[in-house]
């Protein structure tokens, strides 16, 4: 008879010990340091992926990266005609210095973010005409209906900054003020910047005024502090983790994943990511140097796709940690519709090559970044895979800045490239990859009137089912046209000590520490 209350005691105690533990400093190893902590002017993932710990947005990506949840706004919605978007501000939120968050701060931050003179991300809010404050509500008047607006408001550049403090920052122009403010950033996020020794370490401490509450009813975060240590060398970073000096390390090379999975002291996490790896092909009739370009031929491009054995490549480079692309969008991107793609089929490839009219011995050039072991391995493997087709692949190595410069100039025949979404919406990647007017479809020269039309419509399509159908069609057309060699998606490989709980790197790449705690 006494057994049942023992059972309950055990359950209760068990639940108790599963409750998050407060306190402690989490030491996290990064491969490179952030550059500039300003949401609007920053360029790099290195900044974007940790910024939400300091600054917050009105709408947030849900835990584990799915869906949208309330952030600094508690409610939002479109008007019937879709041309007005209203958000209700969460009450009682304060910035880390104690100043209360007001609708004026929101107006200021959004106007700053959408200003075309400020940084490279303003286009995400391109549909917003004016921002007006109505009590505790912010009303956005739109030029046209914009289904991606909620996702845009969850993107890093829409983070809310304190208007008065920012105005007090010294500087002759916006850039200089941003620089000055970024030295001592004040946001509403769970952590505050305490110390930053550039190139060496960055320390964030707990924001005691943070509004969100944890499982125990007390304010988050659970951690006292996070210290990022910058360790560029992969092996050194892993060694430090194994020796216990780090609690976590990002960007584990795939070659080491199996080894760390076998380590009983570590948790080798493979977080789904929006990262896709592909080869962009120049589809124009002529190359930059004036010579005629065989990749102008659709059948040839399709043949190359069929002849590439994605599974083999995944095994080769990510040691099995990845999966073939099922569209130009990653499988973690909203509205992705898996396509039949080009499963490995050498016979089909040969047939298409024959139909393309080219002779065996055709020379093609692939540009890769020098010093990248992965790209080197992929290129050599593809060289061998395309040989039976009759294609002779030349590999050109150059440093990454040169690679980027030649890409911008469309001075390539084939180039390795990869992409991670910045916004939880398919429109960013589509705008770059499939829509000609932005940057000529990843500089491939791909142009489809139907895609342009569908895209323009989808940017204002408020009916989710309709929008999904439009994107499905865009993906079909794109896949069929094969302006790229579709390779594979890869996860974020993060190794954590077993003590670390509830850390997540969402598919966009953001490192979310708000719920993280360290077990004793």
């Amino acid at each position: 008879m006494s057994k049942w209350w023992v059972g309950i005691l055990v359950v209760v105690l068990g639940l108790g010990s599963a409750a998050p533990v407060r306190g402690g400093t989490l030491v996290y190893g990064r491969y490179a340091d952030s550059l500039f902590l300003d949401p609007v002017f920053t360029d790099a993932n290195l900044d974007i992926w940790i910024m939400q710990n300091i600054y917050e947005t009105l709408i947030q990506i849900g835990p584990n990266g799915k869906g949208l949840v309330p952030g600094l706004a508690t409610q939002w919605g479109f008007s019937k005609d879709g041309k007005t978007f209203t958000l209700t501000l969460r009450p009682g939120v304060r910035f880390s210095d104690g100043t209360p968050l007001t609708a004026e701060d929101v107006k200021f931050s959004l106007e700053r973010a959408k200003n075309p003179d400020n940084g490279a991300w303003n286009f995400l809010l391109g549909s917003v005409n004016t921002v007006t404050v109505k009590g505790n509500q912010i009303v956005l008047d739109l030029k046209n209906p914009d289904p991606s607006l909620p996702a845009a408001l969850a993107t890093f550049n829409s983070a809310i900054l304190p208007k008065k403090l920012y105005a007090a920052a010294k500087g002759k122009n916006e850039q200089e003020r941003a620089k000055a403010f970024a030295e001592k950033p004040i946001g509403t996020g769970p952590f505050m910047l305490k110390e930053w020794k550039r190139g060496s370490s960055m320390t964030l401490v707990r924001n005691p005024l943070y509004w969100r509450k944890g499982a125990d009813g007390q304010p988050l975060p659970y951690l006292d502090a996070i210290r990022f240590e910058i360790i560029p060398d992969d092996s050194a970073r892993i060694l430090k983790l194994q020796s216990g000096e780090l609690d976590g390390a990002e960007f584990i090379p795939f070659a080491r994943v199996a080894e760390l999975q076998a380590d009983p002291k570590l948790n080798m996490k493979l977080f789904p990511s929006t990262r896709v790896n592909f080869i962009v092909m120049n589809t124009r009739p002529k190359l930059k140097n004036g010579s005629s370009n065989p990749l102008n031929n659709l059948k040839l491009r399709q043949a190359l796709n069929y002849a590439a054995d994605k599974q083999a490549l995944i095994k080769l480079v990510s040691f099995g940690n990845g999966k073939p692309m099922t569209s130009y969008l990653s499988s973690s991107t909203p509205l992705q519709a898996p396509q039949p793609m080009y499963p490995y089929d050498l016979d089909k490839a040969k047939q298409l090559f024959g139909e393309s009219g080219f002779q065996p011995g055709l020379e093609l050039t692939l540009q890769i970044v020098a010093g990248s072991a992965d790209q080197s391995a992929l290129a050599t493997a593809l060289q061998q895979m395309w040989e039976p087709l009759g294609v002779r692949l030349k590999i050109e190595q150059q440093d990454s800045a040169t690679q980027n410069a030649r890409y911008a100039d469309s001075d390539f025949q084939m180039q390795f490239n990869y992409w991670t979404d910045d916004i939880a919406d398919p429109n960013e990647l589509t705008a770059y990859a499939a829509v000609y007017k932005n940057n000529q479809s990843f500089q491939t020269g791909f142009q489809s009137d139907e895609v342009d039309r569908l895209f323009a419509a989808s940017q204002q399509e408020t009916n989710p089912a309709q929008r999904a159908a439009q994107y499905k069609r865009i993906q079909e057309i794109y896949t069929r046209a094969a302006p790229m060699v579709f390779l594979y998606e890869q996860p974020f490989a993060v190794a954590l000590s077993k003590r670390v709980r509830d850390f997540v790197q969402i598919p966009l790449g953001n490192n979310v520490f708000v719920n993280t705690y360290l077990e004793k």
């Binding site: 500039f36 060496s200 890409y407 911008a408």
Partner: protein, 313 residues
């Protein structure tokens, strides 16, 4: 001529070299394909963004105009702002250069501390097992790349045996000495090998000299003969070699700083070249040029100090 005018003249000789370096590095950096914005943004960069940014940074001006602005700023003590890191270059250099200098000096001291005694042992026990062992170990070290040595030391003494921390820099002076021991050893090992070989040969040569015989004929103790007569003469050529190679230490510092995660300028230099961060590249190169020139002058002075036969011409 006295020592001070010798030093002054050498310092003045540095100035035209400096100017040439300035022009070269300015031109070389800008001749590289690519620019800071596309280097960082990559495929996200659109044409308008790039044009706008170039204008803001003054990179669309003709090269001579850019150079003139650069010179003007330089003489006002302004090295410009880092394009990627958005902070003044002088601040970056002041923050990080001491770290690299500490590492380089530490490596140099360790190299000397290893090379000098071992060179003596090897020379005095020429062709015995001790000599062969010493020469063998150093030869092995010379044939291994710096990062390999570094990683081996990190793995064995850092991660496995936990005698030393795995990379990093520490906060106090004492911690710096502790944290930087392995990287300084890695960096200095090659130099120690070169020094040891040279000093050993020098010592062997000096030991045959008549003045060593004369010193023995005076009844002096062997330790005195070695420490005073032999060492001073043997060191003359080694000191010059040492000074010339310290410049090379800075190059090795880049790799060592990467492997051991040390926030020095070596790493900064690599990143700024890959990111086409012109102001940083220029500022760092000039600083290096200055430092290396100083080291050369210092080496000459010490050499003249050690060898009074050198006429300061």
């Amino acid at each position: 001529m006295n020592r001070w005018s010798y030093v002054l003249i050498r310092v003045l000789q540095v100035i035209p070299t400096f100017f040439v370096v300035m022009v070269l590095v300015f031109a070389a950096a800008r001749l590289l394909p690519g620019d800071p914005l596309t280097a960082i943004l990559g495929e996200r960069a659109t044409e308008e963004m790039v044009v706008k940014a170039k204008h803001e940074l003054g990179l669309d001006q003709p090269l001579p105009v850019q150079f003139w602005i650069f010179l003007k700023d330089f003489f006002q003590g302004n090295l410009g702002d880092s394009i990627n890191l958005k902070v003044p270059v002088t601040r970056l250099i002041l923050e990080r250069m001491p770290v690299t200098l500490f590492l380089t000096l530490y490596a140099a001291v360790l190299a000397a501390a290893l090379a000098i005694p071992l060179a003596f042992v090897a020379a005095l026990r020429k062709d015995t097992w001790a000599d062969n062992l010493i020469r063998g170990v150093f030869q092995l070290g010379l044939s291994m790349p710096v990062f390999y040595i570094g990683l081996q030391l990190l793995t064995l003494l850092g991660a496995r045996l936990r005698w030393f921390p795995v990379g990093g820099y520490g906060n106090t002076f004492g911690e710096h000495l502790y944290y930087l021991f392995l990287p300084a050893l890695t960096l200095g090992f090659n130099l120690a090998a070169i020094l040891m070989r040279n000093l050993r040969a020098s010592i062997l040569e000096v030991l045959q000299a008549e003045y060593v015989d004369f010193a023995r004929a005076k009844g002096l103790r062997p330790s005195l003969i070695l420490g005073k007569h032999v060492l001073r003469n043997a060191l003359i050529s080694t000191v010059t070699l040492f000074g010339l190679n310290i410049g090379g230490l800075i190059g090795g510092a880049v790799i060592t700083e990467t492997v051991f995660a040390i926030p020095g300028v070596g790493r900064l230099m690599v990143d700024s070249i890959f990111g086409r961060d012109y102001p940083v590249i220029q500022g760092l190169t000039l600083t290096f040029a200055l430092l290396v020139s100083l080291v050369f002058i210092l080496t000459d002075v010490i050499h003249a100090q050690l060898d009074p036969r050198v006429e300061a011409a």
